[in-house]
């Protein structure tokens, strides 16, 4: 039976030879992300910005221009309209109203009654959401806290299981992935909301998963090949795990692609972020996380002094 092999056996791709190119590319992308983040910024959803979101289904596709004029005349400040998956499905976003929670609530009522007077009562509200200013500030803080705590907890775990160089390398790769994903949000203008934070945290989990698999092999090979130069050893390990790295990325991407195409409009932004994150996470495991170990000076001696922490089991398996 013929089997697909994404990566041929025993590849000897000199990944480490290109490491400075990869570092340069990553640095460029990070700087770009930072510029996009601080310049145009994120398209923050109401979770983080506060404000009102109403998704309305009309009996037939309405004229967005007329609707914009009509709702814009209510004195509620910025009103953004967009079709959402279908021509008759409109997403209305109204900026946060000055004043307390009550003001948001009144604005919702105002928009609803205007829509009903313009389009009759045949319209159906698919979603009505508003988030008051205090809540959105808390959500921002909670999101930042969650990402920070997650990264820190993972750092501690890797430190505990591996030599400290790995911990540093993994965090560099992680921060790299998070920054690029945030940059992607800024570049594409995909709404940044609570689901996006969940996406980033999942990317953190996925990326670290990928990195750990490569690290695991590097640690094992340090024990097997006591005389092999570190650069060669790292490169060899990347090649050994390359088949697995690409297989897992592909199966995950297949599932995410199904989600992106068929999962519905609400989840599309989330799926997009994840797809990007998986690609970046795979890239960073190979081109950032592993080469960084060499750059920050991991040597055979580090590993020996550390007693090949965590690698015992494989060492024994080797003996039979």
């Amino acid at each position: 039976m013929y089997k697909i092999k994404l990566v041929p056996a025993n590849t000897k791709i000199p990944f480490l030879k290109y490491r400075f190119m990869a570092f340069a590319l990553s640095a460029l992308l990070i700087v770009g992300s930072a510029i996009m983040f601080f310049g145009p910024g994120l398209n923050k959803g109401i979770d983080f910005e506060g404000g009102i979101l109403i998704e309305v289904q009309f009996p037939e596709a309405p004229d967005l221009g007329d609707m914009r004029d009509s709702l814009g005349g209510l004195g509620l400040g910025g009103v953004a309209l967009q079709t959402f998956g279908a021509d008759d499905d409109i997403l209305i976003r109204v900026q946060r109203q000055p004043g307390a929670a009550k003001a948001q609530e009144e604005a919702v009522t105002l928009v609803k009654s205007q829509l009903e007077s313009d389009h009759g009562t045949e319209i159906s509200y698919r979603r009505v959401e508003f988030v008051g200013p205090t809540v959105s500030e808390e959500l921002v803080m909670a999101a930042i806290e969650a990402v920070t705590v997650a990264v820190f907890a993972i750092l501690v775990y890797i430190w505990f299981r591996f030599e400290w160089h790995y911990s540093v390398g993994a965090i560099i790769a992680l921060v790299h992935d998070v920054i690029l994903t945030i940059g992607m949000f800024a570049v594409t203008g995909i709404e940044f909301n609570l689901a996006s934070v969940a996406a980033i945290l999942t990317i953190v989990g996925y990326s670290i998963n990928d990195t750990v698999v490569v690290y695991d092999r590097i640690r094992e090979n340090f024990r097997r090949f006591k005389k092999m130069p570190v650069a060669e050893l790292i490169n060899f390990s990347i090649n050994e795990t390359l088949s697995r790295t690409t297989m897992t990325s592909l199966t995950t991407l297949l599932a995410l692609l199904a989600l992106y195409i068929f999962g519905g409009e609400v989840i599309r932004g989330f799926a997009m972020a994840m797809i990007f994150g998986v690609i970046v996470g795979t890239y960073s495991s190979i081109f950032v996380a592993a080469p960084v170990l060499l750059q920050i000076g991991l040597t055979h001696r580090n590993e020996e002094e550390d007693g090949f922490k965590g690698a015992e089991k494989q060492g024994e398996a080797e003996a039979d």
């Binding site: 025993n10 989990g205 398996a317």
Partner: protein, 527 residues
């Protein structure tokens, strides 16, 4: 020699049977579940509001109003204890400011007596501290400062009381299975399944509904802008713009003494019939007997609903409030009066309402994405690993069963991000198998026999699988602990997925492969 102990087989089969059994109720309608024998599992996955449609409201108790009320009543209490019949202690400047009540004694000589009388206002709390600190400045200035703990306790009890009232009001509207929970110190999370337009409920929750009955101050001019005599106040009419009444501050009867309220009709007009409890009836009877011929005002949340004339003493404890209501207005007022008054106003901080169509669309889309995702991954796995791919797919399918079973059993709530989590798990679930198969491939390439290759493939992939999944699990746990609402739902499915994928890869796949190896005893093998 390769082997798979019997106890492990039993464990694997039991877990798989559990997975299938506890997933099945989700494919059966609620009504037929009731007909099943009791020993069968009947729990279904709860659908979140974003999937079944419904409304989520985050309310905040107005803590400033609670504090204000507390300080007002402290001022009243101070006044009451200083002014006792026949034995007044002279004071001036009784007021509260920045959560401190202060006044000045007219005669310094009264200090001892004041100290004694006020002492009832300062009680020792369970933690050994006083709830109100009273201090005498020596120059006649006396201050009463409630401790932070007693303020917090007051707020907390106001929140508890609000939850109770909110629950009663919502129950009166007939919403099915509402969930009303406290969140943080001063917030209440209300979830209303099946309610996609919560306007009426929001309106009902927006009223504190404190009702009081006062005499109208007929001596004062009712023209706006005129001076209001002490002991009276001016309140606007609830329905007539610009009209206001001057009423006596003293409360004749309060809404707390209401026993029942119903919307009825009187001369074709919707009205609210009320009935007082024993104490209320007595107070109302006395007040109406003493004031025949004079108007009294029915005040709701500092607005005058109506100010009828007392034609005769009302002794039966029943009365009728007419105030130009429409039918809905009369029903709502009756409901609010029955449910009782909120101790403080509620603000709506956050609302998320999803219509039933969108929820159904999301479920349908999620199912399609899930099925297509599974098929795509399954085909790809068979194309890459052949027979071993089939094993991985069996593990994948079992994985889905286990996730659904655990979600059902925990009564966890499946949200849209939760569905996304499951679909994502499909992709990541095969990872553990991929790690093992790739390892077996490598071992085979080093010239090992199939048995040895499988054996060491599993054992060597094991640490990698643990390390890789624990790190992802850490991210999921943190999402669960720190995330809110939908994010939590996503974290739950992701976490269950990680655990069940490790189980299926390490135990189930291994068992299947061992069986196959023992039957076929292959001399050569290709993965």
């Amino acid at each position: 020699m390769i082997s798979f102990p019997t106890w492990k087989i039993v464990v694997v089969l039991l877990v798989c049977a559990f997975g299938v059994l506890y997933t099945l109720p989700n494919f059966v309608s609620k009504s037929s579940l009731e007909g099943l024998p009791e020993w069968l599992p009947t729990k279904q996955v709860n659908l979140g509001l974003d999937l079944q449609g419904g409304s989520h409201l985050l309310l905040q108790v107005d803590s400033e109003a609670v504090t204000l009320k507390m300080m007002d009543s402290l001022v009243d209490a101070v006044r009451d204890s200083l002014r006792q019949q026949g034995d007044n202690i002279g004071y001036r400047d009784l007021k509260h400011e920045d959560n401190v009540v202060s006044f000045t004694l007219r005669e310094l000589a009264d200090e001892e007596q004041a100290r004694e009388r006020l002492s009832v206002l300062s009680n020792i709390m369970p933690n050994g501290q006083r709830d109100t600190v009273i201090s005498f400045g020596g120059d006649g200035v006396v201050t009463l400062t409630p401790s932070d703990q007693s303020m917090a306790a007051r707020l907390s009890s106001a929140v508890d009381q609000s939850i109770e009232i909110v629950r009663r009001r919502i129950d009166e509207t007939g919403v099915n299975e509402p969930s009303i929970q406290r969140q943080g110190t001063d917030r209440i999370l209300v979830q209303l399944p099946g309610v996609d337009d919560p306007d009426r409920i929001k309106r009902l929750l927006g009223e504190t509904a404190q009702m009081t009955f006062h005499l109208v101050d007929i001596a004062a001019s009712s023209a706006p802008g005129d001076r209001v005599p002490p002991g009276s106040k001016r309140l606007p009419s609830i329905d007539e713009e610009g009209l206001s009444y001057v009423i006596k501050n003293r409360v004749m009867v309060s809404g707390e003494n209401l026993e029942d309220a119903q919307a009825t009709f009187q001369q074709g007009q919707p009205v609210v019939s009320i009935r007082f409890d024993g104490l209320g009836a007595k107070q109302f009877g006395r007040a109406t007997t003493d004031n025949v011929g004079r108007p009294f005002a029915i005040v709701l949340d500092n607005e005058v609903v109506s100010a009828p004339r007392i034609n005769e003493p009302i002794l039966g404890g029943s009365a009728v409030i007419s105030g130009g209501f429409n039918v809905q207005g009369a029903q709502d007022l009756a409901l609010l009066l029955r449910a009782g008054a909120l101790p403080a106003p509620l603000d709506i901080l956050e609302e998320r309402s999803v219509g039933p169509d969108l929820g159904a669309d999301s479920i349908a889309a999620g199912k399609v994405a899930g099925i297509i995702g599974i098929i795509a991954v399954a085909v790809f796995m068979i194309a890459s690993y052949g027979l071993f791919g089939v094993v991985a797919n069996v593990a994948l399918a079992m994985n889905m069963f286990l996730i659904m079973a655990v979600l059902s059993l925990l009564g966890a709530t499946l949200t849209l991000p939760g569905i996304a989590g499951i679909v994502l798990t499909i992709g990541m679930a095969v990872d553990a198998n991929v790690l093992i198969f790739e390892r077996i491939r490598e071992e085979l390439r080093t010239g090992k026999t199939p048995f040895n290759a499988v054996e060491s493939g599993f054992s060597r992939a094991f640490t990698t699988i643990i390390d890789a999944n624990v790190t992802t699990g850490i991210a999921a746990v943190i999402l669960f602990v720190m995330g809110s609402g939908p994010v939590k739902g996503f974290a739950v499915t992701l976490l269950i997925g990680i655990i069940s994928s490790m189980f299926t890869a390490i135990m189930l796949s291994r068992m299947l492969i061992t069986w196959w190896m023992l039957r076929k005893r292959p001399k050569t093998m290709e993965v």
